[in-house]
Amino acid sequence: MAEYDIYDIEDIRKLVDGELPWTTVQQMMKNGKDRDRFDKWVAILQGRVSWKEKILLPLTPALFIVQKPAERVVKCRCGHEFGDYRVNWKLSALIYVRDTDEKISEVYRGHEKPDLTWMQLREYYCPGCGSQLEVESMPRGCPPDFEFLPDLDTFYREWVGHPLPDTVEFADRTPERIKEWSSR
C-alpha cells in the first residue's frame, strides 16, 4: 500500500470541519493514508477542549478516553467524567426511553412509528451538557451495546509506536459494576 504523508495538520483540520472541496476529499480518499494521522487528529481535538487531560483515544465526537493521574477515564467534551473506560460509559449516563406512543410520536409519525412491543428507543445523554451521545433501538432485554473496548496498550505500543507509561489489563469491567448494583 502506498502511504503518502502529504497532508499537514491544517489540511486535516479543514477536512474535519468540512472546509475542503469535495474533489479534494475524494482525492484524500483515493490516496494512501497518512501514517501520522492519529497524532494530527488528537492534536486538533486536544486544542478544542477546555480541560487539560491528555486524550488517549477519541471514542465519539463527544467522548474521549483521557489519562488521569492514576487511571484512564471516559470524559465528555464538556468535562463530565464517566469513569473507567473499561466499563461501558452508558452505565454512567442519563437514559431516556421512548416506550409510549406519546414519546415516540415526537420523533416518528404515522407509518414511520415502530411497534413498541418489539423495540425500545433508548437515548443516552451526558449529565453535564445534555448532549445526546447515542441512541439505541433494541428489544427489551438487550443490554446496551458496549460499542468499543480498545486494547489501548497494544495500540500505543505496537501500532502508534509510543507505549503508554503504565499498562492496564485489557478486560471488560462492566459486569463488575453490575455486580455492585446487584448487591445493593
Binding site: V16, G18, L59, R140
Partner: protein, 731 residues
C-alpha cells in the same frame, strides 16, 4: 511454479503454505511486483478490463431486465484452485461464492471424474453446496493454455425466477428447501461451449420466465467465453509464467492491503453491535401453518482486532433458523462479508485475498446463519435478508474505528434496508411475466463523517447501484411510473443525515391482472435498525401502501391530481386524500404478498429506504436544515422538534432561520434532556423487573431471546448477568 500437482493436492499445499507463512501461496515476497511494478499494475488493469468486458457482453446478450437494465451480474477470473484473481463490476457479494464453488469441484474430485477440459461448463445454485439461493446461478468454465488448466472464468446472474413455490426471485415465503426452486447441484451443464439440451429443457419446464432465464444463461456463457478468449490473448502477450506468478501475487497483495488498512485506520480491541431483523407474518397469507408466526431475528456482531490486525468476527447470540427463506449458510455469509469489507476497508484489487485477512467463527449451529447442521431442509430462498442487516452493522462499526484514528473521510453510518418490489401476472404483451423491479438497488447512501449521504445512489449489496430507467422498465413490465421521488426525512436525523431514499408510485397499465409483493431481502418494518450512531435517530422502517379498485381512470379523464409520492404528513397520506378505492391500505407492514389482485389503474406506493445518520440532531448546521426545508426533503416539525431549528417560510417560498431562537431552542432541548433523563442505574433497577416479567414484550421478542440463549450459552450467561437474573432464567 507450475501446475504439475493434481489440483486437489495443490489446494492442500496452498493451505499448508498459508498456515506456515501467513501469506497466500506462501508468497512472503511479491517478486513480480518488486521486479517490474509497471507491468504488474498494467496487467492487473488488463485483467480488470477483461472481466468488465465480459460484464458488458454478458449483460447485453442476456437481455433480461435484471441483467441488461440493472446490471445485476458478475464475471470473475480465478486461479486453477479457485481463488479469485479479479472481478468485473456488478454484484460483488458473489466473489466468495464463486471461489468456493470452484474449490468444491476440486474437493469433490471432479478433476478425475468427470474431468476438466476445454469448453466445459459447470454450475451451482444449490445453497447446500455453496450457493446463496436458487435464483443466483453460479457458473464456471476452466481455461486451458496449451493443454494446461491455467485459470477459471466464473459468472453469476440473478434470474427472474428459479421455479420456487411462488413466482419471482425474492423468495422470502419459502417454508423449506423443497420450495426453493430448481437446483443445479455442482453439475457439469455443458461441453464444447454449449449447454446440454437437458439443462435447457429443465429451465423451460421449471422456471416461470424461461426466455429470460435462458437469456441469462447465454449471457453468462458469452461472458465466460469472453474472459477465456481475452485471457488467452493476454497470456500470449505476457507469457504464462508471468501470468501464473502475478495472478497469485495480486491475491496476496490484496490480503496484505486489507490487513494494512485495518492496522493504519482502526484500533485493536473488541467491537460489539446488536442488530435485529423483523419478520411479521402472523395473520397474513402464508403457505404452511408453521409460518403463521411473527419473528424477530437476533443479528449480533462482535469483532475482535488483535495486535497483528487480524480481524475475527463472531455471531454468538444469533437466533434460530426461521420457517421462511431468511436463512443463510456460513459460506454465503462470508462471501457477503467480503463484499462489505471491500466497501468499508476498500482494497483496490478486489479478489479473494481479504478473505484470508478475516476469520468468521462458525455461527451457532441451527441459527439463521448456519441452519443446515440442525435443519438440513431449511429454506434459504432469500438468504441475504438477515445478512444484509448484519453487514449494515459492519459499516457503522468500521466507521467508529476510523473516527478514532481520524480518518473521517472513510467513515459511514449504517446502511439502508433492502425491500424488493416483485410483480407477477399478465404483461402488456399478453404473456405471463414475473417482474423484479430494481428500485431496491438505489438506496440513499450512509452519512459520512463530514457530510450527508447522497440520495438514491447507493446499495449495500452491490457496488453497481442502479435502479434502471423508468421508461425502459415500462417496456418490460405492465405498469406506469407515476412517481419516483425523494422521500422526505428518509435518511434518519443527525448532525449528518443519510442520503434520501426514494418512493416509487406505480399504476397498473395494460394488464388484466397483476399481483404485487413487498418482498424481504433485508427489510425492517416493525422496528427501526439499531443505528443511532453518535446520537442520531435511525431512519423509519419499511411500510408500503396500495389501492385496489381505484377511481384513477376517472381522475385522469377529469385531469385531476393523482398520487406521485406519500406526501409530507404520514398522518394524512396523499393516497387517502386524492384517491378513492375499494381497498386501500396506507400502512402495510412488510414483507407481504398483498391479497388483492390488482387491475388497471390500481396503485402501489413502494418506498426504497435512505441510509442512516450520525451525530446529535441538534448539532446539525441550521443552514443544512434550511436547505433541506427549501428542497422539501425535511418537514418543518422535524426541523423544529428534532433539530431544534426555528425557521419560517418567507414570501418567496424559501425558508429563513431565526438564529437566535434556534440557539435558545437548542439550549432548552439540552436542559429538557437533563431533566427527563434518569441515571442508568435507576433505570436498570426498574427495567430488570420488567425484563424478568417479560412486560410489554411481543411474543416474537421472547421467542427470539429463548432461541438466542439456547443456541449460545455464553451469550445467555451475559444477558442473565447483566440483568442479575437467576442462572436458569428463560424468557
Amino acid at each position: 511454479m507450475g501446475n504439475q500437482l493434481k489440483l486437489k493436492d495443490q489446494l492442500g499445499l496452498n493451505d499448508e503454505l498459508f498456515a506456515k507463512t501467513g501469506c497466500m501461496f506462501g508468497l512472503e515476497k511479491l517478486v513480480e511486483k518488486e521486479k517490474n511494478p509497471g507491468l504488474y499494475e498494467a496487467v492487473w488493469h488488463i485483467l480488470l478490463s477483461v472481466c468488465n468486458t465480459a460484464w458488458e457482453v454478458g449483460c447485453k446478450v442476456s437481455a433480461s431486465p435484471v441483467a441488461a437494465e440493472g446490471g445485476d451480474a458478475l464475471w470473475a477470473l480465478h486461479t486453477p484452485t479457485g481463488e479469485c484473481i479479479c472481478t468485473s463490476r456488478g454484484i460483488t457479494a458473489h466473489v466468495g461464492l464463486l471461489a468456493s464453488m470452484v474449490r468444491k469441484f476440486i474437493e469433490m474430485g471432479y478433476e478425475d471424474s468427470p474431468g476438466f477440459k476445454h469448453g466445459d461448463i459447470f454450475e451451482n445454485n444449490d445453497p447446500h453446496y455453496g450457493g446463496i439461493h436458487m435464483p443466483d446461478m453460479d457458473t464456471a468454465m476452466p481455461i486451458f493454455y496449451k493443454g494446461k488448466l491455467v485459470a477459471w472464468a466464473s459468472s453469476v446472474t440473478h434470474v427472474a425466477d428459479a421455479g420456487a413455490v411462488l413466482p419471482g426471485s425474492i423468495n422470502f415465503m419459502n417454508p423449506d428447501t423443497f420450495s426453493d426452486g430448481m437446483p443445479v447441484s455442482l453439475e457439469r451443464i455443458g461441453e464444447n461451449d454449449r449447454y446440454y439440451p437437458w439443462y435447457e429443457l429443465r429451465i423451460k419446464s421449471r422456471t416461470r420466465a424461461p426466455d429470460w432465464v435462458l437469456g441469462d444463461a447465454r449471457g453468462r456463457l458469452a461472458g465466460l467465453i469472453t474472459v477465456r478468449e481475452k485471457l488467452i490473448e493476454t497470456i500470449d502477450k505476457y507469457g504464462l509464467e508471468f501470468f501464473e506468478k502475478a495472478s497469485r501475487e495480486y491475491i496476496e497483495d490484496s490480503r496484505r492491503y486489507a490487513v494494512a488498512r485495518i492496522r493504519n485506520q482502526a484500533v485493536p480491541g473488541r467491537v460489539r453491535k446488536s442488530q435485529f431483523k423483523d419478520l411479521t407474518m402472523k395473520g397474513k397469507n402464508v403457505l404452511m401453518p408453521k409460518q403463521n408466526v411473527d419473528l424477530l431475528s437476533n443479528v449480533p456482531m462482535e469483532m475482535n482486532i488483535d495486535g497483528n490486525a487480524n480481524v475475527r468476527l463472531s455471531l454468538a447470540g444469533a437466533s434460530g433458523s426461521v420457517p421462511f427463506g431468511q436463512n443463510i449458510t456460513p459460506t454465503a455469509l462470508s462471501s457477503a462479508l467480503l463484499m462489505g469489507y471491500s466497501h468499508v476497508v476498500g482494497f483496490d484489487m478486489f479478489n479473494s485475498g481479504p478473505t484470508y485477512a478475516l476469520t468468521v467463527d462458525e455461527p451457532p449451529p441451527g441459527s439463521w446463519c448456519n441452519p443446515f447442521p440442525v435443519d438440513w431442509f431449511a429454506s434459504t430462498g432469500m438468504g441475504w435478508s438477515s445478512a444484509i442487516r448484519w453487514l449494515s452493522s459492519l459499516y457503522e462499526v468500521t466507521g467508529r474505528l476510523y473516527y478514532m484514528r481520524g480518518f473521517v473521510e472513510e467513515m459511514s453510518a449504517g446502511a439502508g434496508t433492502t425491500m424488493c418490489a416483485e410483480w407477477n401476472g399478465i404483461n402488456q404483451y399478453g404473456q405471463y411475466a414475473v417482474c423484479l423491479t430494481l428500485e431496491q438497488a438505489s438506496n440513499g447512501s450512509p452519512a459520512r463523517g463530514i457530510c450527508d449521504g447522497e440520495p438514491a445512489a447507493w446499495c449495500l449489496y452491490t457496488a453497481n447501484a442502479d435502479f434502471g430507467n423508468a421508461e425502459v422498465m415500462e417496456l418490460y413490465y405492465p405498469f406506469m411510473y407515476l412517481g419516483r421521488n425523494m422521500e422526505p426525512d428518509s435518511g434518519g436525523y443527525g448532525k449528518f443525515r443519510g442520503g434520501m431514499g426514494h418512493t416509487t408510485v406505480w399504476m397498473v397499465k395494460n394488464s388484466p391482472e397483476m399481483h404485487y409483493s413487498a418482498a424481504c431481502a433485508g427489510a425492517n418494518s416493525k422496528i427501526t435498525a439499531n443505528h443511532g450512531m453518535y446520537g442520531a435517530y435511525p431512519m423509519p422502517g419499511d411500510r408500503v401502501a396500495y389501492a385496489a379498485g381505484t377511481n384513477v381512470k376517472e381522475l385522469i379523464e377529469k385531469r385531476q391530481p393523482l398520487v406521485h409520492g406519500r406526501g409530507d404528513d404520514p398522518d394524512h397520506p396523499t393516497l387517502a386524500q386524492n384517491i378513492t378505492a375499494d381497498v386501500m391500505n396506507n400502512d402495510v407492514v412488510v414483507p407481504t404478498i398483498i391479497p388483492e389482485t390488482l387491475h388497471e389503474y390500481d396503485l402501489v406506493i413502494n418506498p426504497t429506504s435512505g441510509s442512516q445518520a450520525m451525530g446529535d440532531p441538534i448539532e446539525r448546521d441550521p443552514a443544512l436544515v434550511k436547505d433541506d426545508l427549501d428542497k422539501g426533503v425535511t418537514r418543518s416539525w422535524v426541523a423544529e422538534n428534532v433539530h431544534g431549528v426555528i425557521a419560517r417560510k418567507g414570501a418567496d417560498g424559501d425558508w429563513e432561520v431565526d438564529q437566535k431562537a434556534t440557539q435558545e431552542k437548542r439550549a432548552r432541548i439540552c436542559e429538557e434532556r437533563k431533566r427527563r433523563g434518569v441515571p442508568f442505574s435507576e433505570w436498570w433497577l426498574k427495567e430488570r423487573k420488567q425484563v424478568a416479567a417479560g412486560a410489554n414484550m411481543d411474543e416474537a421478542v421472547k421467542r427470539m431471546w429463548r432461541s438466542s440463549m439456547k443456541l449460545s450459552p455464553g451469550y445467555a450467561a451475559e444477558i442473565r448477568a447483566f440483568w442479575n437474573l437467576p442462572d436458569d432464567f428463560e424468557f
